[in-house]
Symmetry: D4
Subunit: 209 residues, 8 copies
Amino acid sequence: ERTGEPEVVLATGKTPAQCAEAVAALHGGSSPVLVTRADAEHAAAVRGVVPDADYDEAARLVVVPAGEQRAGTPGTVAVATGGTGDLPVARECAGVLGAFGVEVRMVTDVGVTGVHRTLAAARTLTDTDVVVAVAGMEGTLPTVLAGLVSQPVVAVPTSVGYGASFGGVAALLTMLSSCAPGVSVVNIDNGFGAAMVARRILRTRGGAG
Amino acid sequence: ERTGEPEVVLATGKTPAQCAEAVAALHGGSSPVLVTRADAEHAAAVRGVVPDADYDEAARLVVVPAGEQRAGTPGTVAVATGGTGDLPVARECAGVLGAFGVEVRMVTDVGVTGVHRTLAAARTLTDTDVVVAVAGMEGTLPTVLAGLVSQPVVAVPTSVGYGASFGGVAALLTMLSSCAPGVSVVNIDNGFGAAMVARRILRTRGGAG
Amino acid sequence: ERTGEPEVVLATGKTPAQCAEAVAALHGGSSPVLVTRADAEHAAAVRGVVPDADYDEAARLVVVPAGEQRAGTPGTVAVATGGTGDLPVARECAGVLGAFGVEVRMVTDVGVTGVHRTLAAARTLTDTDVVVAVAGMEGTLPTVLAGLVSQPVVAVPTSVGYGASFGGVAALLTMLSSCAPGVSVVNIDNGFGAAMVARRILRTRGGAG
Amino acid sequence: ERTGEPEVVLATGKTPAQCAEAVAALHGGSSPVLVTRADAEHAAAVRGVVPDADYDEAARLVVVPAGEQRAGTPGTVAVATGGTGDLPVARECAGVLGAFGVEVRMVTDVGVTGVHRTLAAARTLTDTDVVVAVAGMEGTLPTVLAGLVSQPVVAVPTSVGYGASFGGVAALLTMLSSCAPGVSVVNIDNGFGAAMVARRILRTRGGAG
Amino acid sequence: ERTGEPEVVLATGKTPAQCAEAVAALHGGSSPVLVTRADAEHAAAVRGVVPDADYDEAARLVVVPAGEQRAGTPGTVAVATGGTGDLPVARECAGVLGAFGVEVRMVTDVGVTGVHRTLAAARTLTDTDVVVAVAGMEGTLPTVLAGLVSQPVVAVPTSVGYGASFGGVAALLTMLSSCAPGVSVVNIDNGFGAAMVARRILRTRGGAG
Amino acid sequence: ERTGEPEVVLATGKTPAQCAEAVAALHGGSSPVLVTRADAEHAAAVRGVVPDADYDEAARLVVVPAGEQRAGTPGTVAVATGGTGDLPVARECAGVLGAFGVEVRMVTDVGVTGVHRTLAAARTLTDTDVVVAVAGMEGTLPTVLAGLVSQPVVAVPTSVGYGASFGGVAALLTMLSSCAPGVSVVNIDNGFGAAMVARRILRTRGGAG
Amino acid sequence: ERTGEPEVVLATGKTPAQCAEAVAALHGGSSPVLVTRADAEHAAAVRGVVPDADYDEAARLVVVPAGEQRAGTPGTVAVATGGTGDLPVARECAGVLGAFGVEVRMVTDVGVTGVHRTLAAARTLTDTDVVVAVAGMEGTLPTVLAGLVSQPVVAVPTSVGYGASFGGVAALLTMLSSCAPGVSVVNIDNGFGAAMVARRILRTRGGAG
Amino acid sequence: ERTGEPEVVLATGKTPAQCAEAVAALHGGSSPVLVTRADAEHAAAVRGVVPDADYDEAARLVVVPAGEQRAGTPGTVAVATGGTGDLPVARECAGVLGAFGVEVRMVTDVGVTGVHRTLAAARTLTDTDVVVAVAGMEGTLPTVLAGLVSQPVVAVPTSVGYGASFGGVAALLTMLSSCAPGVSVVNIDNGFGAAMVARRILRTRGGAG
Ligand SMILES: Nc1ncnc2c1ncn2[C@@H]1O[C@H](COP(=O)(O)O)[C@@H](O)[C@H]1O
Ligand SMILES: Nc1ncnc2c1ncn2[C@@H]1O[C@H](COP(=O)(O)O)[C@@H](O)[C@H]1O
Ligand SMILES: Nc1ncnc2c1ncn2[C@@H]1O[C@H](COP(=O)(O)O)[C@@H](O)[C@H]1O
Ligand SMILES: Nc1ncnc2c1ncn2[C@@H]1O[C@H](COP(=O)(O)O)[C@@H](O)[C@H]1O
Ligand SMILES: [Mg+2]
Ligand SMILES: [Mg+2]
Ligand SMILES: [Mg+2]
Ligand SMILES: [Mg+2]
Ligand SMILES: [Mg+2]
Ligand SMILES: [Mg+2]
Ligand SMILES: [Mg+2]
Ligand SMILES: [Mg+2]
């Protein structure tokens, strides 16, 4: 594959058997195989095919390592969350990065309603290469972080919230409308996508990945 | 009027003559008369009827003082803005409060993309009674301020922005979804409404209003 | 915490064990700990950790009293509802206020389709300090009340209704568009948020809070 | 025409000449011809063809009387407005009813933020047959009126307002979500449509119309 | 009750016990008591309190007759549906009308994709007083009927459909945008509301109701 | 060009000079060059470059014939409109088809509120190959026509209307939700697109096109 | 039936018994009877009535052959999908076409993120008559295919995706906004509708069907 | 400024004098000053203050060079557009990058309806570091490019289009929903924002910036 991307199966709307079958066809090559949005049954079925597949239930992510091991992509990605409810999305992101040997630093629960914690967190991020900022509800974390750090900030809105959060739309619009420089946005709850963006950014540095 | 509110004319969709006629019928009583969203022609027509009416072009606000002067409502309202584009709305708010003799402290251009300025601003607000926070684009200012001060925060989304700001909708949703305590919200660009809320809050303190 | 706010856990999307763990870490300090949107299992798990936690099933609210008891915030908050379907949200609001020792007066089922009942209710509210008005469907109650009383009115749209109610959006837009003075709005179904706003308003009166 | 309806030309998007041409082709029969949304140029062009056409500039309505005069539809329609900004729509409704000889009673500026005026207005409507309630912004007037009168209430949302009024959408949703019995709704700013509904209701009474 | 309306309980979001309790408090007077959106458990609980309550499962409607029997409202209402999927809403409408002794004529499955059936249906409606037209998906039935009959047409959009039907929104917008005269609209799936409108129209004819 | 399509310039957002320059670069080949959404200035500039370019002001369409003349695509396309306001879009469609030598039959003002005219129109279409149905407001024409004819129906929603028409969205949703078989939909006001679809359908018949 | 269409029952919202009853009334004539959106219970009930009915569980489609067998509609329809998640919709389309004896060529998993596979697929489609392109998420497949082939392209958005896919809305808007010529669109997930359009297009070629 | 960002003035809603005043206060430091969305009058006023300010009318961008010249950020950014209508946004992006000494390669008019041109363009991008893909209407360009290149792709939706493009919303949703890896998105028409993201990505490579 010219762009060096992983094989990914989206479990939503597929049976465990269909996921297992897809993984059976894809694994063993030079890329890891990922199953996203996988529940416990999907994971069990995949493990029936590839016993050493790793499953993170909170992240709903199955990782099947590449057949031939490659050197990891060098660099560090910070994954910061606004609240504990954003953790599953952050873990999906971290898990995907981990599958490529990228070093991840998790910084959780640093949402801007306690802005002094946000500032303290920002100070610990100076030696990372990319910041992924995951936030639901009003989704302000990426805006504030981008004013405090100088790395690219990949913003991930989450569907955490209710009412006028509209399943992540409020956070999404906040992030898109942000006048803070250096923020770009992926789909609601798309921890996987943020990881893919972060990894491509690391590769611009000359990484092997 | 049982609730002690001003007479207000919304100039939008009215001719200058209609505004002047409305003001002629309403002024001279115990409440000030306000004309909101007034352009220069509206203001001129009103001044034809009440020469000492005050007009703030940026705020698009005409204030006709009450016939019988009352003591001002005691207390101080801080009006903070995210960017300079939010100033017209902030001035509408301040102008309405001024019409009731409320002391106003303006704090402009303290949006959260320069969060250290936001923090500095918050430190100057401790002796005010109510905070009105005016912000467009992603509209984060009220959320961050509410985590830093202990007063009620009245949030005013503005239509400043473009694209996914959707004429103030992004800021509105941000403010409604905010997980910061003590924030309540008025309509987009509604500086007038925020002033009315702030004044009622001041009156709970026993003000004469 | 500088702003004197409670610790709050949003149970939605968390397991009972996660809620209990969060409460265990937070309780015993100078603020009450609240768990909102808690079902019976969440409540049972929290009580496993703090046996004297109070649970209101209708309100889906767990209240864990502060370790050190403080004087309540002086003042009275009226909580009025349009219909009986709005009661859970009103009770969440009342329960949170109660956790801070605020006196609450509930006035239920005074929606504007029976406007004479609304008027009668308004006459009983004159000695309260803040009015929280909770209404679903078309959400008109706050508008009418604000024309009848002189206190600040905190409007809470609820998701009660169907079709063009759009899960509370119709009520939300009504409340934001209201031309009645003194109305500000919190998120759909956010009884908790309305309580936090009301308490901050009471504190502007010099309450201990 | 089997259903006895007027010929109507919507001027929006048509040139004055096109309107005049359409009227020239339609007038002189047993129904009046109406031109709605007509500005002064449209009206002038139509009058070039039919000199006795009547034009109400505020209502933007041209009425060309029927060639053969018929007895008016018996009955009275009340047309009530929330604010003065709703007058153009109310006048369009009244003008169309007038073209069919229906008696109209206008009751203006009785919006629910001054609910005592709404109640007083409702008391004057008991001898009318249909109530058309025209309101913008939050659009509550029909809901409250329907709880006070026993006639059918035809609700007309108007585009008066700004921000979360969304060009009449807030009022429309309010009216559709209303739990008051007897309310049905026509399109935003559709005074013409409300008149047509009211006239059909009058005809169920055995009117000649 | 001045406007002579029924007592109505919306079962959605209420327990069977709460519905039964509400009915117990309301029945026995001069109006019927209705429970809308009632499932079998709600109905059973109500019957525990008022054994002769009538339940139509398809319509999800419980009718508790008035304590003192009144003469029915004279007149006939046609209830027409586009497809068989619209029947539950049509039956809710018919059931409510029946509770007031109004004669109902059901005309089902006459949607406009088979427009010759629609025309045939319209010819059978000439001797009715009001037409309620119930339609989902694209919701065209009321528009076409209103061009064929001369009665008032009360349009009820239903949530039947998928995709761009958006739960009844497509049908709702069709009905509001209709250029056919004499059409007014109630909320999505609101058969109850259409019945209330139809009954008020019948009463303008001098019915006892 | 493998798919044999015309060169098309969208004038919106381009200066007359930019349009003329684009046409100068594209014309003279084996396909006609079209400029859509062209006002009189755009047309004049294009004619400065290609004097024999044809301009239909109502359709806002410039047609520059192909350099080398080809045989027209055999077959007939019916273009039907609901109201006269839909004519500009219908003419854009007809003009584009004409540029390819396709025979067009225009059938105007046959909207479904006068359904007997719609039926009469349908009877005249039996010998055409494709039906393009153009309608605004509630957009019902394609649904009814598709139940009466057996050709493919290409539906074009127009932005004619106001209020709940939402600039063509109501008509668009109607057309997409239609349960009539054989209807497919193009973008709002996209007469050009409908012509392109119709021409491809004709070519499946073995036309030279 | 003048337009030669099948009888179709939409199972959504109907009980198995209701579906079986409908099929019992409709089958045995000159058209096949289809039940769409049928789950296993619906299918079993229908087979109780017509034992030789065919059921495709993935497509959720029941096909009851016509009583009198007709010659199939001549011609070939290509059904292409972007991802494996789009297969159920593609199979509904193929199943309906099969019921009319139309030849179908399935080309799956050729979405544009692997655009070289899309190009390869396009090369295999040259001898088909119509292309149905089924795609979810961002829904780009029809746009790219229409630039590569010269047949009519019927685009089917699917509800596959999450977040900003909004249940198929993103794909729908992509397809409508496409600047590729020859694309028309049916409702989200409407494989049935695409088949009906494709069949009508084949009949313009002079097919019997 | 800790994050090394430019000073930026958004001209929308500001008078020429206000822009000039803002620039006068900000220029002369170590960062360039930019005025975005500037029309000719804004530009003239700024040049009255800083005569060597550069103005690109198509991009609506004023660039005031930094007082002290710094080394440019090393690296190359490709800016690709779908159509010529997207050029203004692409030029805003390129102009901002140029202000920081970043090398830009423009690749215009390579939209996916002519996918062979898109492929050819992709082949010329292999030696760039970041790809900015600007597209309106259906907005597919970034999705296809991201499947062909291995750099980070910053997607910029534009408001080019009409109807279901909804002012850039269709393109925005396409880009967010894309299943192509490595795509992140900025606000509609936000060429400025894309440049800021691209520059931060370049700086992760160790550039001086
Ligand atoms: N074209 C633009 N898009 C997004 N943000 C911008 C743009 N131009 C300026 N800004 C930001 O908007 C804010 C300026 O707001 P104001 O104080 O109202 O001028 C600053 O944070 C700028 O960085
Ligand atoms: N199906 C229904 N549609 C609309 N309004 C209803 C319906 N059923 C009950 N209502 C109204 O909803 C209100 C009852 O709300 P609640 O007090 O929550 O039961 C009353 O005003 C009823 O008239
Ligand atoms: N999957 C489907 N998509 C669109 N329309 C359908 C579908 N299945 C059935 N229909 C149509 O829906 C109508 C049936 O409605 P009903 O009478 O409620 O069963 C008929 O016009 C069918 O042609
Ligand atoms: N969580 C995810 N978010 C976005 N795209 C995904 C996700 N998981 C898988 N995909 C993509 O979705 C496509 C898989 O579609 P399918 O063929 O239906 O499994 C592939 O292009 C994957 O890269
Ligand atoms: Mg957050
Ligand atoms: Mg701001
Ligand atoms: Mg209410
Ligand atoms: Mg009103
Ligand atoms: Mg129908
Ligand atoms: Mg039409
Ligand atoms: Mg796809
Ligand atoms: Mg493009």
